[in-house]
Amino acid sequence: MIHKLGDWVKKVPLPRFLRESGRENGREKGISWAFLSPSLFGVLAFFIVPFFVVIFYSLVDSPIRKQFVFLDNFIGLLKNTAFQTAAKNTLSFSALAVPLAVLLALGLAVLLEQRIPLRSQFRTFFLSPMMVPVASVVLIWQVVFHYNGALNAGLAPFGIEAVDWLKSGYSQLVIVALFLWKNLGYNMILFMSALSNIPREIIEMARVEGASAFTIFWRIKLRFLSPTILFVTILSLINSFKVFREVYLLTGDYPYGGLYLLQHFMNNMFNKLDYQKLSAAAVIMAVVMVILIAVLFLIESRYGKDVEG
């Protein structure tokens, strides 16, 4: 069965630029494509093919009439105030949360590299929030950040006036804190493994030559860490788009203005079945992501080479 499937997959004509350059070597190659086929089928059916339809929808006036309007949907979307708010909030959140998620995680990884007691326990503690479902701790967050909540009670003795944290200008800061709580552990593990992969001899040599711990970190370790820093940045950026979870579970469908995120906008458009805005927004997001990823890849291949060797 699987062999037949392999032979069949091999016969599928492909565009020239995708064809193998070398000679075809037998059925094993075809079989290796058969192994790929269930996944490839799923990805094509649920992501790639419908995404082309999304692109098509973003260019026509309605899925039924199918009149080409080219960029009208995009212009309409960019002029939409709800979309503007959502995009602005999401961007300002990411701009604050991502650098913090990278720097603090690096700090924790360096901290756990030092000779302090209970290192492995600390690692476990820092990692544990990633395993706790957001929905499970939402109640505690409400207790902490409510107007009558624990944070205000704790700040009162210092003469700081009570704020309704989730319904004020500080709401984004609260969500940044929740984001860091959940994501620092994962990033920290990535940095820890990168730190432990730095060749010991280089660091020993620098130490023998009298370099201080600070110089070693700044001049040597940071250079070896640069690919990981880039990767953690991409990852945190993607995770920052997922922070909708926390916001939704804490504040529901209609949050305070500063917490209205892109996913809220998408949900509203799904409810209205506004295919034009949905598809235009998805296409814009995809383009932005591809550009970001491409830029980060370029930086990595440019500056990461000399250390990856």
Binding site: F46, L127, A135, L139, S193, L249
Partner: protein
Amino acid sequence: MRKRHLLIRGLLTVFAAAFAFAFLMPTVLTIVNSFMAQSEISANYGVIFDTGVGSYQSEQVNLKLIPDMVSFSQYATVLLKSPEYLLKFWNSVILVVPVVVFQVAIAALAAYGFTRFRSRRKELILFLYIILMLMPYQVTLVPNYLVSQWLHILDTRWAIWLPGVAAPFSVFLLTKFMRRIPESYLEAARLDGAGEWKIFTKICLPLCRGALYSVAILVFIDYWNMVEQPLILLSDPEMHPLSVYLSRINAGETGVAFAVAVIYMIPALLLFLHGEEYLVEGITYSGGLKG
């Protein structure tokens, strides 16, 4: 000199301990609160959640690390008297477990395909997988929704299952792992006359057992936590998993909500305690985008 080192080390330890405290507190407090009777919950949090119970309420919120009286009444309510919570828990299980099992199974096959007989064509496809893996829900949910609509599976569990099974995350991770298996292992089996299927099941899979477990943990935790997909793909609240439903428990049942929250985190925490090393290994493998 030595004294100064000791001092720095002490300060670092205190610093780490402060961080650890902040990281653990929300989880610990949730667990502690689940062992409080409703009257104690009302007394402590009455100013926040309008609990409606006419009992004593303190002026301000109290976060206590030890309940006045340990009570299992909330758990009794959840487990014996209120079947709707267990039903939602079951919804979560039935939505998540098939996704984990089949996503990892299909990904293992695909990863083997990407590992054997590498070619330009395959590298290009793998690159496409990576791009797709990095796309946020705001992008991928729209195509998912359209296909579900065409297949008439919207508002059924299939709308969560099928895109979940096809998701590319574990393919990427397992490919990275399998490509580190020395080629000679697989080639030796081939020279002994084993077919590809036999090499896959008898040599490759046993070598990947740890990696499969790591990937399964990562996929599980992602889906156990899902909020975006059910909100869009399942319009019937009855089918929603506990991850969404928990936020809708009304204020009068705050005590029960804490117990449900703890029950909900148990599977994830057990996996964590049992498989922390695998989890760490999985995260390590996810680092870096190159195959």
